[in-house]
């Protein structure tokens, strides 16, 4: 765990979806913290609640059917869940900003990108129109959009996917936020463009000391960019550890399975054409979770206890916690 005081702390956050068929616990009591300059990676498969967690932090959950039903989001000495809507709007974009997966749907298609960026800057930094435009050009240069004085007049559809995502990053960074929530920020992009953007984000993060939550399903991105990692399964955190430790000694059977089933590029080219280790079964539907540990039906090590009671998240090693009955606790070794 890091020693620096956290910038953002989430405690026991719960977001439920109230559907006709019943209540779905999309985020089911998740806690996390992240410090300045730190990147916390959040991994999990579809439906594990990782995106809903990010939206809950910014109070942007689609309501109905979603509603934040418990917990705290501590930022700057306040609980964001108790703020007025007006106060929350001040926080969004200025102090905590978000980068979404699909820039085409999160940018306004009928407003030029320069106008959209300048609006954010004017609103949060109380700058004049003139100063906001200057700052806009400066931000576009920072994310290396060539010919930025001219590109500010472009509409989103006139740009490539990579360029649009750069605009999103510029927008997210424009007010020097303390925290960035990046939800699959490069998933829609090709790997060579992804590499360009991640280098850029790391550079900007180092420069401004921004804390980042990097949400992704890509273990490679986590390994290369995160300082700490939390693994989510069916709305809960099932494991958390520093990145090197998580990859070297994953404790939870789900994490072990996930790491094992990812084919990896081997530069030696020595990879034989062998079967990949599988996790049996399907990604569970949150609407229909088993009692006990949600992973038990797919877990080779599950025993009766696993099917009866859900395991609590416990510290198993120094700085390394997991929610599994089958992992011995050995904090003192």
């Amino acid at each position: 765990m890091n020693d620096a005081a956290p910038v953002l702390e989430v405690v026991d956050l719960a977001t439920h979806l109230f559907l006709r068929g019943g209540v779905v616990r999309a985020v089911d009591g998740v806690s996390l913290s992240v410090a300045s300059g730190e990147t916390l990676g959040i991994v999990g498969e579809s439906g594990c609640g990782k995106s809903m967690l990010a939206l809950s932090i910014l109070r942007l959950v689609p309501s109905p059917p979603a509603r934040i039903v418990g917990g705290e989001v501590r930022f700057g000495g306040r609980n964001l869940l108790e703020l007025s809507d007006a106060a929350m709007r001040e926080i969004r974009g200025r102090d905590i900003s978000m980068i979404f997966q699909e820039p085409m749907t999160s940018l306004n298609p009928v407003v030029t990108i320069g106008r959209q960026l300048a609006e954010t800057i004017e609103l949060h930094q109380k700058l004049s129109r003139r100063a906001a435009v200057d700052r806009t050009v400066e931000m576009l240069k920072l994310v290396r959009i060539p010919d930025s004085e001219r590109r500010i007049d472009d509409y989103p559809h006139q740009m490539s996917g990579g360029m649009r995502q750069r605009v999103m990053i510029a927008m997210a960074l424009s007010c020097n936020p303390k925290v960035i929530l990046a939800d699959e920020p490069t998933t829609a992009l090709d790997v060579t463009i992804q590499a360009q953007l991640l280098d850029l984000m790391a550079e900007l993060q180092a420069k401004f000391g921004t804390a980042m939550l990097l949400i992704t399903h890509d273990m490679g991105l986590i390994a290369e960019n995160a300082d700490r990692v939390m693994v989510m399964y069916a709305g809960r955190k099932v494991e958390e550890a520093p990145v090197a430790e998580l990859f070297a000694q994953p404790l939870h059977p789900y994490t072990q399975g996930l790491l094992g089933s990812v084919p990896r590029v081997d530069e030696g080219g020595a990879v034989e054409r062998r079967r990949l280790p599988e996790i049996p079964g399907n990604v569970p539907s949150l609407a229909n979770l088993p009692s006990g540990c949600a992973f038990a039906p797919r877990c080779a090590r599950a025993v009766a206890q696993c099917r009866e009671r859900a395991p609590p998240l416990e510290l198993k090693r120094q700085g390394h916690s997991a929610a599994c009955w089958r992992v011995e606790s050995g904090v003192n070794r």
């Binding site: 490679g220 090197a244 070297a248 080219g269 399907n282």
Partner: protein, 330 residues
């Protein structure tokens, strides 16, 4: 220009020679001419029985168009496609229908490639009825066997696509492709829409089926790790052309083309100990295939570009045995 055979045996299952697919693009401003999109521009390769050729490249490089042109799901503009020694680009519709049972396709999106109004059993039965002319009872038996073979329960034959998860739908798609008894299956990003844990299941299934039935695969994907895992040889495409083709071991150990080198170095490695490896960061975006650069199409982004690269198109040449590269550096 005579095309290289690029096959390791004399009788490949599939041989593609100088294949070209151009689309009419948008009308150019202030001009009567329409632009031409060079989606596939002179591609040659071959696939042996029981072999997987991985086809990689980034979005817009023409790999999906190539996959469809190989099956004549889009009409090639020029070039030949020989399946089991027969050129399918010149045969009539009836003859093509006859040959279709030998070549099948698995699509990326298991949510849109299955008819929602048919049960899974009916979906899998259709190509068997069309191509095998078997009785209803025989067809039912065969569908049940296929369901078990791809890891579905025969009871699920009555379920509709909406009742299946993504991974299960992809299994239905695989069973449908197998029903005709094909020699070649073209998979267009068949696992990229699936969760990681499910992806491994489907990759394993495809490899098992290949061993069992001696299938040949053209496996189109952007995920290099998956392609490395499943392929025997790999072709790398850039803006409509193959820039490098090699056995996978050679491609990953000694990539020759500067684009391949950049592509491989950009892939994130799931190992924190391997962090901070030297990346080759490409500048700029992919140029438009409607207006591709002259000469070598990669020269606008290549760190090794020389004057002749912008004027002279490099041809695929064999360097090390079976390792083909189209680059003036070699």
């Amino acid at each position: 220009m005579s095309a290289p055979s690029l096959a390791s045996t004399a009788t490949p299952v599939l041989r593609v020679t100088d294949l070209v697919k151009h689309y009419a693009g948008r009308r150019r401003p202030l001009s009567r001419e329409k632009s031409v999109v060079h989606a596939v521009d002179g591609v040659s390769f071959a696939i042996d029985a029981g072999e997987t050729l991985g086809l990689v490249g980034e979005s817009g490089c023409g790999k999906s168009t190539l996959g469809r042109a190989v099956l004549r799901l889009v009409e090639p503009t020029r070039g030949t496609v020989e399946l089991l020694g027969r050129d399918i680009t010149t045969i009539d519709d009836e003859a093509l229908r006859q040959l279709r049972r030998h070549m099948q396709m698995i699509f990326q999106d298991p949510f849109s490639s299955l008819n929602p109004r048919l049960s899974a059993g009916e979906i899998v039965a259709e190509p068997i009825r069309i191509h095998r002319r078997s009785t209803a009872a025989e067809t039912q038996d065969r569908v049940a066997t296929l369901f078990e073979r791809v890891g579905l329960r025969p009871e699920q034959m009555d379920d509709y696509p909406s009742q299946f998860s993504g991974g299960q739908r992809q299994r239905v798609g695989i069973a449908r492709a197998l029903g005709a008894g094909p020699d070649l299956i073209v998979g267009d990003e068949p696992v990229s829409a699936l969760d990681v844990s499910i992806q491994a299941q489907v990759v394993n299934l495809l490899m098992d089926l290949q061993d069992e039935y001696g299938l040949s695969y053209l496996f189109i994907a952007h995920d290099l790790a998956v392609v490395q895992h499943i392929s025997h040889r790999i072709a790398v495409m850039y803006l409509g052309r193959i820039v490098e083709l090699a056995p996978k071991r050679a491609l990953f150990a000694t990539p020759q083309h500067p684009y391949t080198q950049a592509l491989l170095s950009a892939v994130p490695v799931p190992d924190p100990a391997a962090r901070r490896k030297q990346r080759i960061i490409l500048s700029g975006d992919l140029p438009s295939p409607a207006n591709p650069p002259s000469g070598c199409r990669f020269h606008t982004r290549c760190v090794h570009a020389m004057p002749r690269c912008s004027t002279e198109t490099p041809v695929l040449k064999e360097g090390q045995r079976g390792h083909w590269v189209a680059c003036h550096l070699y």
